[in-house]
């Protein structure tokens, strides 16, 4: 346990893999599949399609699936040393990509949307709780976001790689 100067405690080595998206919009549900791949790699049963996993936190590597990032997650993520967000993205090469996120304010205010960018969440977490976890985003381009269940074939082939990458990052190991 690491105690920060403001008294906030962070469990050393703990990580949260948080899938984001909407299972009812095809490839937008990628985060759920990736999180369940992580759970399989950890020897844990999968989340069912109505379980966000928020009642099962407390492991060294926790997993959850939510529709979007929002400010009320700030105190949750502040309890972790590392945060891995996994989500579909729009466009780009059909492969698993990752990047690190720093706590920053947006350079533009949110216009009409209700979600929060990861960098913004981290900034809120750091400002209110004195700590923001080291954060990575793992993404795969989605091909279809229309209403419907299941991933496109192309995206489904990347679930395993994404899950393994998420777990690697959650354990603090950066891919070569």
């Amino acid at each position: 346990m690491v105690r920060w100067s403001n008294g906030w405690c962070v469990a050393e080595g703990r990580a949260l893999v948080l899938g984001l998206g909407n299972l009812s919009r095809q490839d937008d549900g990628f985060g759920w599949y990736a999180v369940n791949r992580v759970r399989a790699l950890l020897g844990q049963p999968p989340l069912d399609d109505t379980d966000d996993g928020m009642d099962r936190l407390g492991q060294v590597v926790d997993t959850a699936f939510l529709p979007q990032v929002s400010s009320d997650l700030a105190d949750l993520v502040a309890q972790y040393e590392r945060l891995v967000l996994v989500d579909a993205r729009i466009g780009g090469e059909m492969q698993v990509s990752w990047f690190a996120v720093e706590p920053l304010a947006q350079d533009q205010p949110r216009l009409l949307t209700h979600d929060m960018l990861p960098a913004e969440l981290l900034a809120v977490s750091r400002a209110l709780y004195g700590h923001a976890p080291r954060t990575y985003v793992v993404t795969v381009p989605g091909l279809s976001f229309d209403f419907g269940m299941g991933l496109s074939n192309e995206m489904a082939t990347l679930v395993d790689a994404a899950g393994r990458l998420c777990l690697l990052l959650a354990r603090g190991k950066l891919p070569a």
Binding site: Q108, P109, V124
Partner: protein, 474 residues
């Protein structure tokens, strides 16, 4: 030659909202339009499913107000099986709904509207956001976070899930309130009421300081629709739909199940989202608004003491007539937050709330059910028709953003007329166009999330489509 200023998202997934500002030959704004993405896809998606699945399916529409869809679907399912839920089930559903209202309204006020009000519409965009707000006024931002968490905790206590609850079912609810959950909610109520009152104070202070501006910003006459209890007081969960005109005269008060007798939906070829309107006054005379502004305008009072006192002050803004200024939505939103917290306390005091009388069974299939409640953004209607076995053959959803479709375009038009000068696209104009739409709290983007932001592209076009100027924001 006529010209058109367009504000549209570059990405396809977050929002699909596009604003067109059409200029006349003299360079002045002729009209404005807000284009919203198609919503009917979800209705098609639901057809063929069993009606009793809808309380679990429809929350997937939205990550911000899933409870509203969950409960509206359950109410429609009640009607299909011809059941009136028990008092306990209704109380528990309403309790969950209050949690939804608190989390949604507080998120909007403190994270989206707050930076505009507290830092200024023309503040540096790099600072005019929730992080900028935290840096300058952390205690205010923390109130917003705590209110949102509190609302989410009520939802989770009842629905076992923070986002997609499994709680309301056809005929009632599937679990009772535990003593631990009740006591946890009670424990934090007083502090959250203080937080809501702080939000009200911020909104009122701003509106008082900028009253002339607020009274004219996106201010226009229209009708107002919302739900009232038997005594005419505000009710966010159940009651009759009341429609008033721009002078405050009551036009109708009707059972939501009869909405098709009163509300029509106009189709325009430039947007997929339909325009609901009051049938007897026709189009466009019958246009109206929904949501917090409309609800405070159309109700006869509020049945909780602190919120009622705020409503009494609201009545004085325009001499007892409806308040038309769009920026007053923010005050109304926090008054409703206060009401939802006080109503939560009332529900928890009801001796029936801890009962296990949760469910009324039925094997009847009436083949039609309408569920209606006041979602945070406004009146939400779910209308299902089934075959004799209960399989859905038709689904009609009228969401708050649809009800406000005309009003958002009109708001943009009012602001654009005031701020668009010739062919210049100024930051000030863009800030205010966004603020006018944002005040209605439209839900344009909640069905899907993907990494990225929703940039806005502002394009100035001649009448023949030639691009004169383009600005991208975000």
């Amino acid at each position: 030659m006529a010209q058109k200023v367009m504000i549209e998202p570059v990405t396809r997934i977050e929002g699909h909202a596009k604003v067109s500002i059409i200029l006349g030959d003299d360079g002045r704004v002729e009209r404005a339009r807000l284009h919203v993405n198609e919503f009917r896809g979800f209705e098609q998606f639901c057809r063929g499913r069993m009606f009793f699945e809808m309380p679990q399916i429809t929350p997937r529409i939205c990550g911000i107000c899933p409870v509203s869809h969950h409960l509206a679907a359950a109410k429609a399912a009640d009607a299909i099986i011809g059941v009136t839920p028990t008092h306990t089930a209704s109380l528990l559903r309403e309790l969950m709904h209050m949690g939804q209202v608190v989390q949604s309204h507080s998120m909007h006020f403190f994270e989206l509207a707050g930076p505009d009000l507290l830092l200024g519409f023309d503040a540096d965009p790099a600072k005019r956001n929730v992080v900028g707000l935290i840096e300058q006024q952390p205690e205010i931002a923390l109130k917003g976070v705590m209110l949102r968490k509190f609302g989410q905790s009520i939802i989770a206590a009842l629905g076992q899930k923070r986002v997609h609850p499994e709680f309301a079912v056809a005929g009632g609810v599937n679990s009772a309130l535990t003593i631990e959950a009740r006591d946890t909610i009670r424990r934090d109520l007083a502090a959250r009421i203080e937080d809501a009152q702080a939000g009200i104070a911020i909104a009122k202070a701003w509106l008082n300081e900028h009253q002339d501006y607020a009274d004219t910003f996106a201010s226009f006459p229209c009708g107002y629709l919302g739900t009232v209890a038997e005594d005419g007081t505000l009710d966010l969960y159940q009651g009759k739909l009341r429609l008033i005109d721009c002078y405050g005269n009551r036009l109708e008060e009707f059972d939501p199940a009869d909405y098709l007798d009163y509300i029509g939906e106009r189709v325009e070829d430039w947007t997929y989202l339909k325009f609901p309107y009051y049938l007897k006054l026709g189009w466009p005379g019958g246009v109206y608004r929904v949501g917090p502004l409309a609800r405070l305008n159309m109700c006869s009072g509020i049945a909780t003491p602190l919120a009622h006192e705020e409503w009494r002050q609201w009545q004085q803004v325009n001499g007892g007539k409806p308040v038309q200024g769009t920026l007053y939505y923010h005050w109304a939103r926090m008054v409703e937050t206060l009401y939802a917290l006080e109503r939560t306390a009332q529900i928890l005091e009801d001796p029936d709330v801890m009962s296990n009388d949760l469910y009324v069974p039925s094997d009847q299939i009436t083949r039609r059910g309408v569920g209606c409640l006041e979602a945070p953004r406004g009146t939400l209607i779910h209308d299902y028709r089934t075959d004799p076995d209960g399989k859905l053959i038709d689904v009609n959803l009228i969401i708050a953003t649809g009800h406000n479709n005309w009003a958002m375009s009109r708001s943009v038009e009012e602001v654009a007329k005031a701020y668009v000068d010739g062919t210049r696209l100024t930051e000030g104009m863009l800030n205010r166009v966004e603020a006018a739409i944002r005040a209605h709290d439209p839900c344009l983007s909640c069905s899907t999330h993907a990494v990225g932001q929703m940039p806005l592209e502002v394009t100035l076009l001649r009448g023949d489509g030639e691009v004169v100027e383009r600005v991208v924001r975000g």
